[in-house]
């Protein structure tokens, strides 16, 4: 499992790029209120706002997992060398 860290960090990078693009799209299309008060929001606005939020939270999750797995892998490598 701990060998998967590059994939998680690459995933985090991809999500960060998606996050930036979606943030600009959110501003350009003014979908801002969609999540704050979804009562009158269109499906399109809700979709864009949710995609941005998921990309952003996904980035945090992937980055934390990638770093955690990298640290576990490093410790494992160190232990092998010592023994």
């Amino acid at each position: 499992m701990s060998r998967q860290w590059p994939k998680w960090l690459l995933g985090a990078l991809a999500l960060l790029l998606a996050d930036r693009a979606l943030a600009h799209l959110c501003v350009a299309t003014n979908v801002a209120g969609a999540l704050l008060s979804p009562g009158g929001a269109t499906l399109e606005a809700l979709g864009i706002a949710l995609a941005f939020l998921l990309a952003r939270l996904g980035f945090v999750l992937c980055f934390a997992l990638g770093v955690g797995l990298l640290a576990a892998r490093a410790l494992s490598g160190l232990a092998r060398r010592v023994t």
């Binding site: 003014n30 801002a32 969609a34 704050l36 009158g40 952003r56 945090v60 955690g68 640290a71």
Partner: protein
Amino acid sequence: MRRILQIGVGLAAALLAVRAVAAGFASGADARFDGELEAQAAMARGVDRWIEDDLSREDFSTGSSRFDGEWLFATRMMAVLGYAQTGMRHPELRARHAARANDALYRLITERGRAFDAEAWGSDPLADLGTERTHVAYLGYLSLALSLSRQLGDSRHEQLEQQVIAHLVARFEESELGLLESYPGEVYPIDNTSFIGALAVHDRVTGEDHGALLERLMVGLETHYRDPHSGLLYQAVDPEDGAPLDRPRGSGTALAAYFLSFADMERSRVLYRAIRERLYRDWLGFGTVREYPPGVVAFGDVDSGPVILGQGVSATGFTIALARLHGDREAYAHLSATSALFGGPVDQGGVHHALGGPVGDALLFALMTAEPPS
């Protein structure tokens, strides 16, 4: 044993990574906390767009025509507060921000700008100046925007400011509750605190003295409309006897503490202390504020915004102003990190927020640049 150690180290590294992300999202918070010119000017440039655009209620999507009107009103009103605060802090921005505040005020007082309130009352708030009708949802907030604009040195709306203040002073002097109706049959302490802030600014600018009235209103707020257990303000009260109709809440208390800071920093600090002790949470560098005291489970509404695991979007945002006003750098940075995580600031020649839109940009502009009164 080695496996357990590996999991422990991995977990610790993951938590540290989240903390690093929070620090990244909070980058720029120090510059804003210190009131640096470029950090504040970038926020102002973001709001310029919404003042230049001829926004209407159709640009908002709350699902309620009245709330859309309130959000449109809040966009311009909070923009005026932001322009006034930053204009006062930086003399080199003063003339430009006074002009911007004037543009925002002009749009606030158009027929379209006051329509949400006129529809609720069945009569126009400006035509009702001098009558018994109070219109605090519109006139309370407008009075604060007008008085701050006047403090900035802009005299273009001086006459209107004087009229609005005189109207509300007369109504408050006759009010046994010490609170006025926002809409017919609806009384919200938070709306009333905007006028308390306005009257204090008005007195400082004009040299008039409404100290006795201000003291009576603030003592009334503390003794009748503040929950003795949590120290928070009730969100809504009965127009007949002032009995609480809603629970004490974070969003109303935080915004009220911001407005009260224009009148009395110490009373604002007391409310902030209650929020800090009872509602504030820190999650690995992300600060949040509960909408309700611990133990209360409730959903969000138009005042609180979404409430996630008890944490309120509005309460968290409004508290940023209090952290700056009361010198709490750590809370300011951690709340800013959360605001950046969920708001998504984007610099496009000025700071916009992906999930903020006009009202989010204007609110954060005013809240993040909140200044102790000079």
